[in-house]
Symmetry: C2
């Protein structure tokens, strides 16, 4: 299997750029399976605060960040559900679709890179590009985004309080606030996590068989560590250093055509580097039972089928129906506890619609 | 001014069909200005319960109720904001738009009829038609809606518990649950309400002048009673008896053309009755400062301009700039307290996307 990453995988070292809040960091021998931390790694230049989280939550749910006023971050990354939209590919503003399945926003705090092709190095970067994408939020430029938010007194006062300075409402701060909220979207205490922590009854006998298979057939060689997606920032990796796998790793199975697996060149489209052809960020398996459909193009509708396809294309194994059932039952133990949230209230511009203002 | 309604407006009588939970019902002399009750009128055949409200909230926020899985009730009636979408007209599934401005869902518990043309007699009826409208949720038929919800175990168990019976997940019960949640969307305790209850400092001197003007120039002749929209069910009116006004009442002003006020024939399109031409349900002024743009077609972007237009077209009055400012300041006192809500969690079908299931 072809896997690319930089940095020393087996050494657990904290990053200079990141202040890790995980309680389990140690220099202990490498354990491939680890419970999800309840606290995210936090970049030193964007510390978290209650006020910033609250602001970020409002912005995350605010459709006025899209050119038509119809799409918020939550439209395609629905935190009331699995953090995505249940569609093969999302529909952005003006009916436009991209070509990739929206990945979940849950537990992205533990991603080293964002987007399926790893083209954003941080949650902050990711926000900045989503807002300006013509197939997503569709805003024409950074100034237009800032103008929308700056037109709303209830936002202006929050930005001033949190970020200070004369031009507190700026593009970087908008991204920082949203990223801060996203770092709170963590689903700890899944049955799997409780099992790893020592509660032997937390998962069923079938799930335990599934976990054994998951390790034996080597699913775990990519889907490991706290987020079941390889390294996380602040532990072994620097933020922005992606952990990628070739997909399909073994080309030529019937699935390539059936699910159009090989058409999108993945990370190659970002870097133009030959060895990046069909390289994809390893996807987290956390909450995978609630984030159908599957794969970068959303072409596989059922988790059982996704397991079968992965066996064939990545590991060159024809998994038996029993193995697939067992692994799927195991994967269902990765559904964590979604934290309770208060619904935000969006501030307004009195007597005037903000999306009717002319764009710059 | 042409206003149509049935029933005896000045008598306060409780409806046989409705159990009113308002505490202020009495046979006292008619008072045009009344504070908003904190409890909604509730139809006897759809009593409220905590469990039903919680279910209705989940459904209200669930985009799987639309054919494409992209639009929930909340998409166009955003309860995190003013209960609408800040657009002139909404964009439904598949990029389709209707021709009318989405009215707010806040305080619709106090509406006698729903839709701007009054074509739904209850909140329950309104849900049923929205789901099947090609320009809104776009579901092909009732069975398809029921099949979507019935595919989700977490919904099935709730319906069974709340409604009982073998086929608890049915179209009527889906509508009942959503309508029940909508009845909780009440914004009491605005400065205006506190003023009416005796707190003379609750609104400014300018707002008091505005309130005087509002009464003197006769805005109040349509915008009265608890919802500032005429009668409410369970007080004088039966549910389903609409309170309509002709708009524009005085045709021929410059605004007819500027804002295309006379093109939509309103209630006439529903009934075909000549006297219903350009009759519109009187809109509530509650929270009007946060629900721009204005009027049935959303063509007026600012509240001040909406006041100016209403003076000219409805009352044949050229309001002065001072009057308009004062009335606008008064209207801003009608912004109530939006209740805190917990964000719902949407139940899921394990390992499978629901919107990928074939439609019936």
């Amino acid at each position: 299997m072809k896997v690319t990453y930089r940095g020393l995988l087996l050494a657990v070292s904290s990053s200079l750029m990141y202040l890790t809040m995980a309680t389990s960091v140690s220099a202990a021998p490498f354990q491939a399976l680890q419970p999800l931390p309840k606290q995210p790694p936090v970049p030193l230049d964007n510390p978290m605060s209650r006020a910033k989280i609250a602001l970020g939550q409002q912005l995350f749910f605010d459709p006025r960040l899209s050119v038509t006023g119809t799409h918020s971050c939550n439209t395609c990354h629905n935190v009331m559900a699995g953090g995505e939209d249940g569609r093969a590919v999302s529909i952005g503003v003006n009916g436009k679709s991209g070509t990739r399945n929206a990945p979940t926003v849950w537990n992205t705090a533990f991603s080293t890179v964002l987007y399926r092709d790893g083209r954003a190095a941080s949650l902050e970067d990711q926000v900045k590009t989503h807002l300006l994408s013509a197939t997503e939020m569709g805003m024409p430029n950074e100034q237009a985004v800032v103008a929308r938010i700056a037109a709303i007194p209830g936002y202006v006062s929050q930005f001033a309080k949190i970020f200070g300075g004369k031009e507190a409402v700026n593009y970087t701060n908008i991204a920082k606030a949203i990223a801060t909220y996203e770092r709170t979207l963590i689903t700890p205490d899944s049955p799997y996590d409780r099992y790893l922590r020592g509660d032997k009854q937390a998962i069923s006998a079938q799930a335990k068989r599934g976990l054994d298979e998951f390790q034996k057939v080597q699913c775990v060689s990519c889907h490991f560590w706290v987020n079941m997606a390889g390294p996380v920032p602040g532990l072994a990796f620097q933020m922005g250093e992606g952990f990628y796998e070739l997909f399909p790793n073994y080309q030529g199975s019937v699935y390539d055509k059936q699910y159009q697996l090989a058409e999108d060149l993945g990370r190659y489209n970002v870097t133009g580097i030959e060895s990046d052809r069909r390289m994809w960020r390893v996807a987290s398996l956390r909450n995978v039972a609630v984030t159908a459909p599957y794969f970068h193009n959303g072409m596989v509708k059922k988790l059982e089928e996704a397991v079968r396809v992965m066996g064939k294309t990545q590991l060159k194994v024809d998994l038996t129906d029993q193995q697939i059932q067992d692994i799927t039952v195991f994967l269902n133990t990765l559904t964590g506890k979604f934290p309770e949230q208060k619904m935000p209230r969006l501030p307004f511009k009195p007597n005037s619609s903000v999306i009717d203002l002319p764009l710059q």
